[in-house]
């Protein structure tokens, strides 16, 4: 928080606001360019190796007239969205993820990688600076620290019930973060986002030579790739719920607070 006087704090400090929007942009570009990279080989494996001859636990496949998503032995037809879709010129494409979900909107692995690595650097540096600043100015200890009582199943259940009551959700922008908010913010900032960076690095052959333990921790390069993908979609899930909560609790005031800091208030 930019203002150290506790009696006169804004809802969101300047560091938090700057990071929030920089990070939002980075994650959007990383997701969409990541899907371009995934399209190059839309199959996921466990272990060190995995290619077309090996069993994929998840795959997007294409036929001439249909597309499908396969989890284990379960096949779900996804024609029109995954594996077989029409581009904006009306041509049928058989890449896994459709053009509206990828950067660039046409298939270019080299360009997708360039976007991905550029924004990965901004994302990683931003996250590191945000973490340092947020411990230093006690944002983490003050606003995000999850007390022992808040970890109890009853407290989490109460917090969950609050999320289902419209009036409680409407009042939430004026209150300190509730248990579920804290757990999800801490989970995203300190688990999911670092996991994206480390599983990403674990896929690099040069990093594997430099820091072999990194790939080992995740159980191999293909496991790291699978975890990278799962963590990315966990972030998408977080984003969907986050957005829903913002809309239900405002939406103007919480968005304005994340832009301007919100009203100064006494504590």
């Amino acid at each position: 928080m930019s203002d150290e006087k506790p009696a006169n704090r804004r809802r969101h400090g300047l560091t938090t606001r700057l990071w929030h929007w920089t990070n939002a942009l980075c994650l959007l570009v990383l997701l969409m360019s990541g899907l371009t990279i995934f399209n190059a080989h839309p199959r996921l494996y466990w272990g060190e190796y995995g290619s077309n001859h090996d069993y994929a636990w998840m795959a997007v496949g294409s036929g001439e007239t249909f597309g499908y998503l396969r989890f284990g032995e379960t096949r779900i037809e996804t024609t029109g969205v995954l594996g077989n879709w029409e581009d904006d010129q009306g041509r049928t494409q058989t890449w896994a993820f459709p053009g509206w979900a990828t950067i660039p909107s046409y298939y270019s692995l080299a360009d997708g990688r360039r976007w991905h690595f550029f924004f990965a650097w901004i994302f990683s540096i931003g996250l590191t600076l945000f973490m340092i600043r947020s411990f230093w100015n006690r944002h983490v200890q003050r606003d995000l620290h999850i007390g022992r009582k808040e970890w109890s199943p009853l407290a989490l259940w109460r917090s969950f019930r609050q999320h289902t009551k419209f009036t409680e959700v409407r009042q939430s922008p004026d209150k300190p973060y509730n248990s579920i908010q804290k757990v999800s913010y801490v989970g995203v900032i300190f688990i999911l986002l670092p996991l994206m960076i480390f599983t990403g690095l674990a896929m690099s052959p040069a990093m594997d030579a430099n820091w072999p333990f990194l790939t080992d921790i995740f159980g191999g390069r293909q496991s790291a790739r699978s975890i990278h993908f799962i963590a990315a979609f966990s972030l998408v899930l977080f984003f969907v719920i986050h957005l829903l909560m913002v809309i239900l609790s405002g939406p103007i005031r919480p968005i304005k607070a994340m832009l301007t800091g919100g009203e100064r208030r006494e504590e």
């Binding site: 570009v29 969409m32 990279i37 995934f38 190059a40 080989h41 199959r43 060190e48 190796y49 995995g50 290619s51 077309n52 001859h53 090996d54 904006d88 053009g99 509206w100 950067i103 660039p104 909107s105 046409y106 270019s108 692995l109 080299a110 360009d111 990688r113 360039r114 976007w115 690595f117 550029f118 990965a120 650097w121 690095l201 896929m203 690099s204 052959p205 040069a206 990093m207 594997d208 030579a209 430099n210 820091w211 072999p212 790939t215 390069r221 293909q222 790739r225």
Partner: protein, 251 residues
Amino acid sequence: MKNRLITRRNILIGSAGGLLSGCDALNRNPAFQDILATAETANFKVQRALGDRMQLATEYSLADRSPTFRANGTRDPGTPDYASSAAQGFADWQLRLTGLFKKPQDFSLSALQSMPQRTQTTRHDCVEGWSAIGQWTGVPLKILLDLAQLRDSAKFLVFHCADKLGGRPYYESIDLLDGFHPQTILAHRLNGEALPVANGAPLRLRVERQLGYKHAKYVTGIEAVASLDGIGEGKGGYWQDVANYEWYAGI
């Protein structure tokens, strides 16, 4: 760009369509591409700085190998010359060392096979995302470089290949740091057998700390150069010229 922005579909899709068109427009902008590429320079510098420069890539046990080693790119050069050489077990195959060597020379396949060999079981990581583990045997490139003696002006090693993709000859290049790395070998065996045609027979480069497209197959010559400018379109490799892949493929 203007046309893209006013199509009905993009108006319907609204901001999402605008964002995508915007990204595509940026993607086609050379200045923006240069900005994006600064990250690749950072990858190269940081990855080289982080480890011992001769750090070995992970080596595996034979039990860790992929049941089938996937072949990618050219699976058979398909030229009459290559076919006739393959028919005689590549007995006439010559590896030509040219360019900035004090003693440029040719090596036959049998000469290479009679030199000290290195066997390594390593993971091959494709830029597309898949991996395969295989055991490679070949002659360390350092032995050949020591025999032919690089001139001081040599900065890169260009690998010329017998295969063409889309009518263009495949080639790749590495710098001297990777050239002298102990795991950089010219492999002629895969999993204890003669290297199959699909995997680059009779000679393929292994440069273990980089992605698969650097591992040139069907190698016919090594040219030592001071700069990559005069080779192909000057970007240092087939995929770099054709599809803008990065010359440094450590990630």
